[in-house]
């Protein structure tokens, strides 16, 4: 019984997604075989450094990769069991905004400077409600603005008349206008002040509950993950290196991928004794020229000879998955730290 419900509740399934950018400098392997799924009302966090392929994954789902350079090579993206990758442009337009919406990183540039915010929210509604007149939709514009905490009378204002946090609220209002089942938030708070960040996150959480929206939260901030997510996928060089429920990823007693451990070591902890932060040595590899074997091996403290080439061991324990050769032995004796 449980099983069937869970199956129908799957909002999005991404399987083995591979996406590249064809540039003058060569083929950039941005996303390399990523798989994850989201259930109704669930939030998944895509965590990783800049260049890990998080945004590319999101754009691939929306099919908004740059037309000339970006390309989904293989894999499958199913929205409620419906394959998106085979849809044509017109069909995708019906999905975007209505079923899946996206919030972009920088609210300063995400709004058209020459249109009032009201017009921009209205546009979002009008695209997917072509049977309704402007008069019928206008009250909904007011409602949406109030929903994100902006007085409706301000709909006649232009983006430059709002602060960054308010702009992001407007972006959220646009994204939620048609009550999509899935919201992709690409670092929605990175460009904002810390105090505003919390407000915006709370607002998103509140709206998500109210509208029963599922969400993909893209972030490099583990604090944001802890606050908003149910599931976490840690991405490195276009791959998911660790995947599991929030509690599994944040449980220090479970085995983890060395990169995940590195990420946690790189944030200051309030509880523990004040030890120095341990940043991860080195840089993200050039995605046009990825290392053999485990992508993380050049930076890994525990790199072994077998990590430098060939297939990497995939550890699975229920919902918790780790892609690391260390887990091969760790599976039996637990992880010795």
């Amino acid at each position: 019984m449980d099983h069937t419900i869970e199956h129908t509740d799957k909002i999005l399934e991404v399987e083995n997604l591979t996406a590249v950018y064809n540039t003058d400098a060569g083929v950039v392997h941005a996303v390399n075989g990523v798989s994850f799924s989201i259930n109704k009302k669930e939030t998944i966090g895509l965590v990783g450094e800049t260049g890990a392929g998080k945004t590319t994954t999101a754009l691939a789902i929306m099919q908004l990769l740059p037309e000339r350079t970006g390309e989904v090579k293989s894999g499958s993206i199913r929205y409620r069991g419906d394959e998106l990758l085979t849809k044509n442009k017109a069909e995708m337009r019906l999905i975007r905004g209505a079923c899946i919406s996206m919030i972009f990183q920088d609210p300063m540039t995400a709004l058209n400077p020459l249109m009032t915010v009201g017009e921009q929210i209205y546009e979002s509604l009008a695209i997917h409600n072509s049977n309704k007149t402007q008069k019928e939709l206008e009250p909904r514009v007011d409602e949406l603005l109030e929903l994100v905490g902006i007085p409706a009378r301000r709909k006649i204002n232009y983006p430059h008349e709002f602060s960054g946090g308010m702009k992001q609220r407007i972006v959220i209002a646009i994204a939620l206008a048609c009550e999509p089942l899935l919201l992709i938030a690409d670092e929605p708070t990175t460009a904002l002040d810390v105090t505003i960040q919390a407000q915006v996150l709370n607002l998103m959480d509140e709206l998500k509950q109210k509208l029963s929206t599922s969400m993909i939260m893209i972030t490099h901030d583990l604090g944001v993950v802890a606050q908003t997510c149910d599931k976490v996928a840690v991405m490195y060089a276009g791959e998911i290196v660790e995947y599991g429920m929030l509690e599994e990823i944040f449980d220090p007693n479970r085995p983890h991928h060395p990169y995940t451990i590195g990420l946690f070591n790189a944030i200051p902890s309030l509880s523990g004794e004040s030890r120095r932060l341990k940043p991860i040595d080195g840089l993200m590899p050039d995605p046009a020229n990825l290392p053999e074997g485990c992508r993380f091996h050049p930076r890994c403290q525990e790199c072994m000879e077998c990590c430098k080439s060939g297939e990497i061991y995939q550890y699975e324990n229920g919902t918790h998955k780790i892609k690391c050769n260390l887990m091969r032995k760790g599976e039996n004796d637990g992880r010795a730290d």
Binding site: L64, R96, A98, M102, N112, P113, S124, E161
Partner: protein
């Protein structure tokens, strides 16, 4: 907003005064004096001096400048040294030809330039983009008057489709319009293309795509308006080039416009005509730049609010 326009109109006055001064000053450096010019080489020195005095030419430059401006306010630009007729009348008689030429060329250049520019940007790297860019580059590189000569050779002489010389009905303007529009069109097209390419990469275009908006509407409603700002600026600047360019093009097509009036006057050293015509065209240009500035505010609310705050 109207307050801003009024303010700009007021600042136009010192600009125009300065422009008039520069033109007047430059023309004053021209060797020769009106007495000699009007009465001819054979007249006696006394007669020439008397004539110069009558025209106020013996007074120092600043005084003559002030007198000139004072007369100008009353619509008097003095009299031609050559014909003795009022300069204002001579210019106004020639104005319709130049205005017809300029307006037609601007319409052709703007409409085609912007349209092709948009298409070129939207279909970047396509055959259309490649050929449009190449043609624009060529049009911008070859002298307008020479393109005019080639058009005459092709359409008037070999094909015999269009008249090549003189004014008259609008048919006579087709080749001059195309010729004048060429460099203008090239510049508008290139600017629109560049500007569109920049705007298409903006985040708000991606936002519009994420809403599920169709591409044609994204281009027309979101991208174009944002891309127009630099295009409008170039439009104003190009208009100045076009006013200068009409001089050569009127010569090629022997059109009796202000440009050819200036050239004739330069040849005969008829300083009042040159000064008057240049002042007239420069004033047009200054007023047009003001219109461009005001147009800006209607396109961009950020600029409008900045104007209103002042």
């Amino acid at each position: 907003m109207s307050k801003y326009i009024l303010k700009r109109l007021l600042t136009l006055i010192p600009t125009l005064l300065a422009v008039i001064f520069i033109v007047y000053f430059i023309m004053d450096l021209t060797p020769g004096d009106p007495g000699t010019l009007i009465l001819g080489e054979r007249a006696s020195q006394e007669e020439i001096d008397a004539k110069n005095e009558e025209l106020g030419y013996n007074k120092p430059l600043p005084v003559r400048y002030v007198n000139y401006v004072a007369d100008l306010v009353h619509g008097d630009m003095g009299n031609s040294w050559k014909s003795g007729r009022p300069v204002m009348g001579e210019i106004i008689a020639r104005l319709p030809v130049t205005v017809t030429l300029a307006v037609g060329a601007i319409l052709i250049g703007t409409v085609i330039g912007i349209l092709v520019g948009i298409l070129s940007a939207v279909k970047q790297y396509s055959f259309l983009d490649f050929s449009a860019t190449a043609i624009a580059m060529a049009l911008a590189s070859f002298p307008g008057f020479w393109i005019g000569m080639m058009l005459i050779l092709l359409f008037s002489l070999y094909l015999g489709w269009l008249p090549s010389f003189g004014g008259g009905d609008l048919k006579h303007y087709i080749l001059p319009w195309i010729t004048t529009a060429c460099p203008f069109l090239a510049s508008q097209m290139r600017m629109t293309r560049t500007s569109m390419l920049e705007v298409i990469r903006m985040d708000y275009i991606r936002t519009a795509r994420a809403k599920g908006q169709r591409e044609s509407k994204i281009i027309m409603q979101h991208a174009l308006r944002n891309a127009l700002l630099p295009v409008v600026t170039i439009l104003g600047i190009n208009f100045g080039g076009l006013l200068g360019g009409t001089v050569t093009i009127e010569t090629v097509f022997t059109l009796p416009g202000v440009g050819s009036l200036i050239i004739e006057a330069i040849r005969t050293k008829d300083v009042p005509i040159v000064t008057g015509a240049t002042v007239m065209l420069a004033s047009f240009f200054a007023i047009l730049m003001l219109i461009v500035d005001v147009l800006y505010a209607y396109i961009d609310p950020r600029i409008k609010s900045r104007y209103e705050r002042k």
